[in-house]
Subunit: 149 residues, 2 copies
Amino acid sequence: MNIGQAAKASGVSAKMIRYYEETGLIPAAGRTASGYRDYSDTDVHMLRFIRRARDLGFAVAEISELLGLWRDESRQSAEVKRLAQGHIAALKKKIADLQDMEQTLTMLVNSCQGDHRPHCPILQRLETDREDENLSIQPRAGAIPRPLQ
Amino acid sequence: MNIGQAAKASGVSAKMIRYYEETGLIPAAGRTASGYRDYSDTDVHMLRFIRRARDLGFAVAEISELLGLWRDESRQSAEVKRLAQGHIAALKKKIADLQDMEQTLTMLVNSCQGDHRPHCPILQRLETDREDENLSIQPRAGAIPRPLQ
DNA sequence: TATTGACCTTCCCATGGTTGGAAGCCCCAC
DNA sequence: GTGGGGCTTCCAACCATGGGAAGGTCAATA
Protein backbone atom coordinates (compact mmCIF):
# COMPACT_ATOMS: atom_id res chain seq x y z
CA MET A 1 0.00 0.00 0.00
CA ASN A 2 1.47 3.37 -0.92
CA ILE A 3 1.31 6.47 1.22
CA GLY A 4 -1.81 7.87 -0.42
CA GLN A 5 -3.77 4.71 0.24
CA ALA A 6 -2.45 4.51 3.79
CA ALA A 7 -3.49 8.14 4.29
CA LYS A 8 -7.00 7.46 3.06
CA ALA A 9 -7.29 4.29 5.13
CA SER A 10 -6.00 5.87 8.32
CA GLY A 11 -7.32 9.39 8.13
CA VAL A 12 -3.82 10.80 8.53
CA SER A 13 -2.66 12.93 5.61
CA ALA A 14 0.31 11.80 3.55
CA LYS A 15 2.09 14.97 4.61
CA MET A 16 1.65 14.12 8.25
CA ILE A 17 2.67 10.51 7.79
CA ARG A 18 5.98 11.69 6.37
CA TYR A 19 6.29 14.19 9.18
CA TYR A 20 5.65 11.53 11.83
CA GLU A 21 8.28 9.36 10.21
CA GLU A 22 10.78 12.20 10.02
CA THR A 23 10.31 13.10 13.67
CA GLY A 24 10.56 9.51 14.80
CA LEU A 25 7.02 9.04 16.06
CA ILE A 26 6.68 6.10 13.70
CA PRO A 27 9.44 3.89 12.29
CA ALA A 28 10.57 4.55 8.74
CA ALA A 29 8.33 2.74 6.29
CA GLY A 30 9.69 0.13 3.95
CA ARG A 31 10.31 1.17 0.37
CA THR A 32 9.47 -0.33 -2.98
CA ALA A 33 12.18 -0.77 -5.62
CA SER A 34 11.32 2.65 -7.00
CA GLY A 35 11.49 4.39 -3.64
CA TYR A 36 7.82 4.60 -2.78
CA ARG A 37 6.96 4.15 0.89
CA ASP A 38 5.16 0.88 1.51
CA TYR A 39 2.61 0.37 4.28
CA SER A 40 1.12 -2.77 5.80
CA ASP A 41 -2.24 -3.10 7.52
CA THR A 42 -0.37 -3.00 10.81
CA ASP A 43 1.09 0.36 9.85
CA VAL A 44 -2.33 1.69 9.01
CA HIS A 45 -3.58 0.38 12.31
CA MET A 46 -0.88 2.36 14.07
CA LEU A 47 -1.65 5.49 12.10
CA ARG A 48 -5.29 5.22 13.05
CA PHE A 49 -4.25 4.88 16.67
CA ILE A 50 -2.29 8.10 16.30
CA ARG A 51 -5.14 9.94 14.67
CA ARG A 52 -7.55 8.98 17.42
CA ALA A 53 -5.12 10.08 20.08
CA ARG A 54 -4.70 13.39 18.26
CA ASP A 55 -8.48 13.71 18.12
CA LEU A 56 -8.45 13.46 21.89
CA GLY A 57 -5.94 16.28 22.00
CA PHE A 58 -2.87 14.31 22.97
CA ALA A 59 0.36 15.98 21.92
CA VAL A 60 2.70 14.02 19.69
CA ALA A 61 5.14 13.48 22.56
CA GLU A 62 2.34 11.95 24.60
CA ILE A 63 1.29 9.79 21.70
CA SER A 64 4.83 8.55 21.51
CA GLU A 65 4.45 7.31 25.08
CA LEU A 66 1.04 5.86 24.34
CA LEU A 67 2.42 3.98 21.36
CA GLY A 68 5.17 2.56 23.52
CA LEU A 69 2.62 1.33 26.03
CA TRP A 70 0.41 0.03 23.27
CA ARG A 71 3.21 -2.07 21.90
CA ASP A 72 4.38 -3.19 25.32
CA GLU A 73 2.47 -6.36 26.09
CA SER A 74 3.59 -6.25 29.70
CA ARG A 75 2.58 -2.64 30.32
CA GLN A 76 0.69 -1.72 33.46
CA SER A 77 -2.63 -0.11 32.77
CA ALA A 78 -1.86 2.30 35.62
CA GLU A 79 0.71 3.97 33.41
CA VAL A 80 -1.75 4.57 30.63
CA LYS A 81 -4.28 5.83 33.11
CA ARG A 82 -1.77 8.24 34.62
CA LEU A 83 -0.93 9.61 31.19
CA ALA A 84 -4.59 10.08 30.37
CA GLN A 85 -5.30 11.71 33.70
CA GLY A 86 -2.49 14.17 33.15
CA HIS A 87 -3.99 15.04 29.82
CA ILE A 88 -7.41 15.48 31.35
CA ALA A 89 -5.92 17.91 33.83
CA ALA A 90 -4.33 19.89 31.01
CA LEU A 91 -7.62 19.94 29.13
CA LYS A 92 -9.43 21.15 32.23
CA LYS A 93 -6.98 23.97 32.65
CA LYS A 94 -7.34 25.05 29.04
CA ILE A 95 -11.11 24.88 29.32
CA ALA A 96 -11.07 26.96 32.49
CA ASP A 97 -8.86 29.57 30.86
CA LEU A 98 -11.12 29.83 27.85
CA GLN A 99 -14.19 29.96 30.04
CA ASP A 100 -12.71 32.85 31.97
CA MET A 101 -12.18 34.69 28.73
CA GLU A 102 -15.64 33.88 27.53
CA GLN A 103 -17.25 34.95 30.74
CA THR A 104 -15.48 38.29 30.86
CA LEU A 105 -16.17 38.95 27.24
CA THR A 106 -19.82 37.98 27.58
CA MET A 107 -20.19 40.39 30.45
CA LEU A 108 -18.66 43.11 28.33
CA VAL A 109 -20.80 42.33 25.34
CA ASN A 110 -23.91 42.42 27.47
CA SER A 111 -22.98 45.83 28.74
CA CYS A 112 -22.48 47.22 25.25
CA GLN A 113 -25.45 48.82 23.58
CA GLY A 114 -24.20 47.81 20.17
CA ASP A 115 -25.73 50.71 18.35
CA HIS A 116 -24.56 53.53 16.09
CA ARG A 117 -23.02 55.50 18.95
CA PRO A 118 -19.31 55.35 19.65
CA HIS A 119 -19.55 54.75 23.40
CA CYS A 120 -18.43 51.19 24.06
CA PRO A 121 -17.71 49.56 27.42
CA ILE A 122 -15.75 46.82 25.66
CA LEU A 123 -13.15 49.26 24.43
CA GLN A 124 -13.31 51.07 27.72
CA ARG A 125 -12.46 47.94 29.60
CA LEU A 126 -9.57 47.16 27.27
CA GLU A 127 -8.35 50.65 27.93
CA THR A 128 -8.66 50.82 31.66
CA ASP A 129 -8.46 47.26 32.91
CA ARG A 130 -10.87 47.92 35.73
CA GLU A 131 -12.17 44.52 36.74
CA ASP A 132 -14.49 45.94 39.35
CA GLU A 133 -16.18 48.44 37.12
CA ASN A 134 -19.78 47.52 37.44
CA LEU A 135 -20.61 46.99 33.85
CA SER A 136 -23.33 44.44 34.36
CA ILE A 137 -25.79 46.77 36.00
CA GLN A 138 -25.83 49.21 33.13
CA PRO A 139 -29.38 49.36 31.78
CA ARG A 140 -29.92 47.24 28.76
CA ALA A 141 -31.06 49.08 25.67
CA GLY A 142 -34.64 50.05 26.25
CA ALA A 143 -34.82 48.85 29.82
CA ILE A 144 -35.23 52.33 31.23
CA PRO A 145 -35.88 54.60 28.31
CA ARG A 146 -34.11 57.88 28.53
CA PRO A 147 -33.23 60.41 25.92
CA LEU A 148 -29.93 59.94 24.15
CA GLN A 149 -27.60 62.45 25.75
CA MET B 1 11.01 55.84 27.69
CA ASN B 2 13.00 52.98 26.18
CA ILE B 3 11.64 49.62 25.17
CA GLY B 4 12.46 47.90 28.44
CA GLN B 5 10.60 50.47 30.45
CA ALA B 6 7.68 50.37 28.06
CA ALA B 7 7.65 46.60 28.37
CA LYS B 8 7.57 46.73 32.13
CA ALA B 9 4.90 49.43 32.13
CA SER B 10 2.67 47.67 29.63
CA GLY B 11 3.18 44.02 30.43
CA VAL B 12 4.18 43.30 26.84
CA SER B 13 7.68 41.88 26.46
CA ALA B 14 10.26 43.89 24.52
CA LYS B 15 10.45 41.00 22.07
CA MET B 16 6.76 41.24 21.39
CA ILE B 17 6.78 45.00 21.10
CA ARG B 18 9.37 44.72 18.32
CA TYR B 19 7.35 41.95 16.73
CA TYR B 20 4.14 44.00 16.78
CA GLU B 21 6.01 46.86 15.18
CA GLU B 22 7.53 44.62 12.54
CA THR B 23 4.19 43.10 11.62
CA GLY B 24 2.46 46.46 11.50
CA LEU B 25 0.11 46.02 14.44
CA ILE B 26 1.58 49.17 15.95
CA PRO B 27 3.28 52.05 14.17
CA ALA B 28 7.07 52.19 14.24
CA ALA B 29 8.29 53.86 17.38
CA GLY B 30 10.36 57.02 17.27
CA ARG B 31 14.09 56.69 17.78
CA THR B 32 16.61 58.49 19.90
CA ALA B 33 19.80 59.84 18.36
CA SER B 34 21.54 56.58 19.16
CA GLY B 35 18.85 54.42 17.61
CA TYR B 36 16.95 53.34 20.70
CA ARG B 37 13.19 53.06 20.33
CA ASP B 38 11.39 55.77 22.25
CA TYR B 39 7.91 55.34 23.73
CA SER B 40 5.40 57.82 25.05
CA ASP B 41 2.72 57.23 27.64
CA THR B 42 0.24 57.02 24.79
CA ASP B 43 2.27 54.20 23.27
CA VAL B 44 2.29 52.35 26.57
CA HIS B 45 -1.43 52.86 26.79
CA MET B 46 -1.84 51.22 23.42
CA LEU B 47 0.42 48.35 24.37
CA ARG B 48 -1.62 47.73 27.46
CA PHE B 49 -4.74 47.70 25.34
CA ILE B 50 -3.13 45.05 23.19
CA ARG B 51 -2.09 42.94 26.13
CA ARG B 52 -5.57 42.99 27.60
CA ALA B 53 -7.08 42.00 24.30
CA ARG B 54 -4.58 39.14 24.07
CA ASP B 55 -5.52 38.10 27.57
CA LEU B 56 -9.07 37.77 26.33
CA GLY B 57 -7.83 35.52 23.56
CA PHE B 58 -8.22 37.90 20.65
CA ALA B 59 -5.90 37.09 17.76
CA VAL B 60 -3.54 39.78 16.59
CA ALA B 61 -5.59 40.33 13.44
CA GLU B 62 -8.67 40.96 15.56
CA ILE B 63 -6.73 43.28 17.80
CA SER B 64 -5.75 45.22 14.74
CA GLU B 65 -9.45 45.79 14.08
CA LEU B 66 -10.09 46.64 17.71
CA LEU B 67 -7.29 49.19 17.67
CA GLY B 68 -8.78 50.75 14.58
CA LEU B 69 -12.14 51.09 16.29
CA TRP B 70 -10.51 52.33 19.46
CA ARG B 71 -8.82 55.13 17.58
CA ASP B 72 -11.89 55.90 15.51
CA GLU B 73 -13.84 58.49 17.46
CA SER B 74 -16.84 58.02 15.20
CA ARG B 75 -16.98 54.26 15.49
CA GLN B 76 -20.28 52.52 16.09
CA SER B 77 -20.28 50.38 19.20
CA ALA B 78 -22.21 47.77 17.21
CA GLU B 79 -19.04 47.02 15.30
CA VAL B 80 -17.05 46.37 18.43
CA LYS B 81 -19.85 44.26 19.79
CA ARG B 82 -20.01 42.21 16.60
CA LEU B 83 -16.29 41.57 16.76
CA ALA B 84 -16.50 40.52 20.38
CA GLN B 85 -19.48 38.29 19.72
CA GLY B 86 -17.61 36.57 16.94
CA HIS B 87 -14.78 35.93 19.31
CA ILE B 88 -17.14 34.59 21.95
CA ALA B 89 -18.51 32.15 19.39
CA ALA B 90 -15.00 30.98 18.57
CA LEU B 91 -14.22 30.56 22.25
CA LYS B 92 -17.40 28.57 22.74
CA LYS B 93 -16.51 26.27 19.91
CA LYS B 94 -13.04 25.67 21.29
CA ILE B 95 -14.44 25.04 24.74
CA ALA B 96 -16.97 22.59 23.38
CA ASP B 97 -14.28 20.73 21.47
CA LEU B 98 -12.09 20.48 24.52
CA GLN B 99 -15.02 19.40 26.66
CA ASP B 100 -15.80 16.63 24.20
CA MET B 101 -12.25 15.42 24.48
CA GLU B 102 -12.31 15.66 28.23
CA GLN B 103 -15.57 13.82 28.52
CA THR B 104 -14.49 10.96 26.30
CA LEU B 105 -11.19 10.69 28.07
CA THR B 106 -12.76 10.81 31.49
CA MET B 107 -15.08 8.01 30.52
CA LEU B 108 -12.09 5.99 29.37
CA VAL B 109 -10.11 6.73 32.48
CA ASN B 110 -13.01 5.68 34.65
CA SER B 111 -13.24 2.41 32.83
CA CYS B 112 -9.55 1.65 33.30
CA GLN B 113 -8.54 -0.30 36.37
CA GLY B 114 -5.20 1.45 36.48
CA ASP B 115 -3.37 -1.44 38.07
CA HIS B 116 -0.35 -3.59 37.31
CA ARG B 117 -2.18 -5.59 34.66
CA PRO B 118 -1.79 -4.79 30.98
CA HIS B 119 -5.47 -4.77 30.06
CA CYS B 120 -6.43 -1.19 29.32
CA PRO B 121 -9.68 0.08 27.80
CA ILE B 122 -8.01 3.39 26.95
CA LEU B 123 -5.59 1.75 24.57
CA GLN B 124 -8.37 -0.51 23.35
CA ARG B 125 -10.47 2.44 22.43
CA LEU B 126 -7.61 4.13 20.60
CA GLU B 127 -7.17 0.90 18.71
CA THR B 128 -10.72 0.17 17.74
CA ASP B 129 -12.51 3.51 17.72
CA ARG B 130 -15.74 1.96 18.93
CA GLU B 131 -17.72 4.84 20.31
CA ASP B 132 -20.57 2.65 21.42
CA GLU B 133 -18.51 0.16 23.33
CA ASN B 134 -20.04 0.29 26.73
CA LEU B 135 -16.99 1.07 28.76
CA SER B 136 -18.74 2.86 31.56
CA ILE B 137 -20.51 -0.16 32.95
CA GLN B 138 -17.33 -2.11 33.56
CA PRO B 139 -17.05 -2.81 37.26
CA ARG B 140 -14.80 -0.44 39.10
CA ALA B 141 -11.83 -1.97 40.86
CA GLY B 142 -13.06 -3.68 43.97
CA ALA B 143 -16.73 -3.26 43.20
CA ILE B 144 -17.27 -6.97 42.85
CA PRO B 145 -14.22 -8.67 44.23
CA ARG B 146 -13.00 -11.45 42.05
CA PRO B 147 -9.67 -13.10 41.63
CA LEU B 148 -7.26 -11.48 39.21
CA GLN B 149 -7.39 -13.29 35.92
C1' DT C 1 38.57 58.91 32.82
C1' DA C 2 38.11 54.10 32.34
C1' DT C 3 35.64 50.30 33.34
C1' DT C 4 31.70 47.65 34.08
C1' DG C 5 27.22 45.85 33.85
C1' DA C 6 22.80 46.45 32.19
C1' DC C 7 20.54 47.75 28.48
C1' DC C 8 19.69 48.47 23.46
C1' DT C 9 20.09 47.11 18.34
C1' DT C 10 19.55 43.51 14.46
C1' DC C 11 19.56 38.90 12.95
C1' DC C 12 18.72 34.04 13.10
C1' DC C 13 16.63 29.91 15.16
C1' DA C 14 13.13 27.00 17.59
C1' DT C 15 8.71 25.79 19.09
C1' DG C 16 4.12 22.48 17.29
C1' DG C 17 1.27 20.58 14.01
C1' DT C 18 -0.12 21.25 9.72
C1' DT C 19 -0.54 22.80 4.99
C1' DG C 20 1.14 24.54 0.56
C1' DG C 21 4.00 24.46 -3.36
C1' DA C 22 7.89 23.44 -6.68
C1' DA C 23 10.81 20.29 -9.18
C1' DG C 24 11.54 15.92 -10.67
C1' DC C 25 10.67 10.79 -10.95
C1' DC C 26 7.28 6.80 -11.44
C1' DC C 27 3.16 4.07 -12.58
C1' DC C 28 -0.85 2.87 -15.03
C1' DA C 29 -4.30 3.29 -18.54
C1' DC C 30 -5.22 4.37 -23.05
C1' DG D 1 4.44 6.57 -25.94
C1' DT D 2 1.97 9.88 -23.86
C1' DG D 3 -0.76 12.09 -20.26
C1' DG D 4 -2.36 12.63 -15.79
C1' DG D 5 -1.97 11.65 -11.27
C1' DG D 6 0.76 10.04 -7.48
C1' DC D 7 5.19 9.61 -5.47
C1' DT D 8 9.80 11.68 -3.87
C1' DT D 9 12.48 15.60 -1.49
C1' DC D 10 13.06 20.22 -0.05
C1' DC D 11 11.63 24.75 1.33
C1' DA D 12 8.34 27.99 3.24
C1' DA D 13 4.54 29.60 5.86
C1' DC D 14 1.32 29.89 9.63
C1' DC D 15 0.87 32.12 14.89
C1' DA D 16 2.83 34.13 19.01
C1' DT D 17 6.54 33.69 21.63
C1' DG D 18 11.18 32.93 23.60
C1' DG D 19 16.35 32.22 23.24
C1' DG D 20 20.60 33.71 21.99
C1' DA D 21 24.68 35.85 19.53
C1' DA D 22 27.26 39.91 18.06
C1' DG D 23 27.91 44.52 18.59
C1' DG D 24 26.64 49.42 20.09
C1' DT D 25 25.03 52.62 24.16
C1' DC D 26 24.10 54.41 28.67
C1' DA D 27 24.91 55.39 33.43
C1' DA D 28 27.17 54.66 37.64
C1' DT D 29 31.18 53.73 40.01
C1' DA D 30 36.30 53.07 40.95
